[in-house]
Symmetry: C2
Subunit: 178 residues, 2 copies
DNA sequence: AACACTTATATCAAATCGATATATATCGGG
DNA sequence: CCCGATATATATCGATTTGATATAAGTGTT
């Protein structure tokens, strides 16, 4: 599943410009798939040449002309076919946790700060999601929102309960360096 | 933090070939950062030209010559400097959950299967991690392992408790299609 | 004997990321 | 009323990453 497929999927909710698709990625999928202009605009161009979306240009004075994309019948078929395929396994990437794998080389104070910041960012994220969750119209979006909250809460809990392990490693490293 | 930086980090644990670094990514970091040969070999080449690692070639008959990389003093300094920078925020990508955001367009049976498969893959992963967790030598690796288990357990719990939301959406979609 | 897995290198096209460029409108605060 | 921040709207571009492929031989299993 690539950006092209997800653009198709988002267009099933209605016509949109590239800019609006970017927003839809943020509003509906940001938790599990983020895409920037650098991948969205090329994707829409390819989809257009493949005939999976159509594009009409709306002239605007004083602004770049709007290009409004619509999914075609071929596009709907292609999208459903893509959805039949087994999805790739989930991927998680955390620079913070990667940093912590080298805690024994780092000052204990820095390690503690990095953990504090991560917990803080999760807490902030939970707060945002909690606010959004109730406003979501569809059940699937509620599900996703709740998923994010549940997973992040358990991550915070784990970090609070076990951060001493990492902090101990950093302290040991500092002593060894002396 | 890119593959280059993480190669440097892994080389702080001892000299290694590109092949061994790939394994180290799998053994130590797979949960939070996976890299393939296509990024590791170019990374090692760049690090070598930058003088952050050195490389000695061990001739082997009947096999490609081993190239054993060692981190240099410059490399150690560069790595620690990189570790000082604030890590980017965590990224999560799930094709399965992305699929579920379009549940209203899919057969309910397919939606259920996708959820079953995801729960199964998490359960398998937890089992593997549980086995590895005890064998890990360092506290930081234990921490990471435990993190993976805790987060995936809560994800399974949430999906079991709330999958009916998504499955309801798929059923509604099927009815609407009639 | 057959088959799969491990060791070991490396490249390449395609996809993606992250930053940047361009231009105007709008909206709130000082 | 002006200033800065945010929103609208396009797009490109270098650097990085992904995922597949190629090569070649040893090792282990049934």
């Amino acid at each position: 599943m690539d950006v092209k497929t997800l653009c198709l999927g988002l267009l099933t909710f209605g016509d949109a410009t590239g800019y609006e698709i970017k927003k839809a990625f943020q509003d509906r999928l940001s938790m599990l798939y983020d895409a920037g202009y650098g991948s969205i605009y090329p994707a829409l161009n390819k989809l257009t040449t493949e005939g999976l979306v159509s594009c009409r240009t709306m002239a605007q004075s004083k602004r770049p002309d709007k290009k409004i994309y619509s999914i075609t019948l071929d596009g709907q078929i292609a999208f459903l076919k893509e959805m039949e395929r087994a999805p790739a396994s989930d991927k998680f990437r955390s620079e913070t946790l990667a940093t912590l794998m080298f805690a024994h080389l780092l000052p204990a104070s820095h390690v503690s700060k990095v953990i504090d910041d991560l917990i803080k960012s999760y807490e902030d994220n939970i707060e945002v999601l909690s606010g959004e969750c109730d406003m979501k119209q569809s059940l699937s979006e509620k599900f996703l929102c709740g998923y994010g909250i549940a997973v992040k809460k358990s991550a915070i809990q784990y970090m609070q309960d076990n951060r001493h392990l990492i902090e101990a490693e950093a302290l040991l490293g500092e002593q060894a360096a002396e």
